[in-house]
Symmetry: C2
Subunit: 174 residues, 2 copies
């Protein structure tokens, strides 16, 4: 009898440990909340390759536009009008700061947000074939109250309808 109790105790401890492990993995996988339209933040985007930098003087931000494998391949091969399904463009944005040792240089200050455009011409038919999402601040808070926030993104990209709703022109890197 003692043996059975001992065994049951051991078994439940094992189950508890396994459960904790599973929950931990789930928590790790969903550390950043999805956008209101269901888009998850793309994993590993800070390791993505460069498509181009930019500097906006209307809101004083510096940006680097990066892409997943499909986007960078498309950019380098000139397949950007339209961009292929599966391409994801990421825009990493910082507030302007000045370099104390080089006052004429604008350098990244605080992190503002990372925003993404995911190409899927059927799924996102209503917004030019692009799914939009943005995560704000170092805490990566999803932007927008409801899924209708994408209309704001799409509206801003309408002037570049002729380049598949994308502002970024891939920079030449020999």
């Amino acid at each position: 009898m003692k043996r059975i109790v001992y065994f049951l105790g051991l078994a439940s401890a094992l189950v508890a440990l396994l459960l904790a492990g599973v929950l931990n993995v789930r928590a790790g996988g969903s550390a950043v909340a999805p956008a209101p339209n269901g888009l998850e933040i793309p994993e590993g985007y800070r390791d993505w390759r460069i498509i181009a930098p930019s500097h906006r003087t209307d809101n004083n931000t510096l940006r680097v536009i990066v892409g997943n494998e499909k986007a960078v391949s498309a950019a380098r091969e000139g397949r950007t009008n339209p961009w292929p399904d599966g391409a994801i463009l990421g825009k990493i944005v910082w507030k302007d700061a000045t370099h104390e040792a080089w006052p004429a240089a604008t350098v990244p200050g605080s992190f503002v947000h990372a925003e993404f455009m995911v190409k899927d011409h059927t799924r996102y038919r209503d917004t030019g074939g692009w799914g939009f999402a943005r995560w704000v601040g170092p805490e990566q808070k999803p932007y927008g109250q409801g899924p209708e926030f994408v209309q704001e993104c799409f509206g801003c990209h309408l002037p570049v309808k002729n380049s598949d709703y994308v502002f970024t022109r891939p920079a030449v890197i020999p």
Copy 2:
């Protein structure tokens, strides 16, 4: 006899093909001439990860500073004063251009040059532990007439001696 001639012809054609292949590979490997101080252009730098963007209004250029594995790891872990031996920083530079659909945005125009700092505190003892090199234009012409060009680079980096002669402060990317 006919057979032997045929065989010899086939064999020499094969040798010629092999030689052409070897020469072609060699030509590919040395397509870009080394800098006057012997530094070779780092392979695959256009696939390196971001450390920070910058915008210089004194010479109207946009830049992205990238790093090899050692440099990006050091940047993310705060091991940048000094940077570790083996770290290579790359600066990819474009002339300012204006986006026709967003006039307040400065975007990359023509490619200016790619320049590099290679950390080796013994080998480059005379220039702060850094080997410098630059390749100019899409044709990637090495900068400088002789190896003394590095004094120009080093002189420009002297004001940031306290940050291991590096201007770039790694940007926050969550």
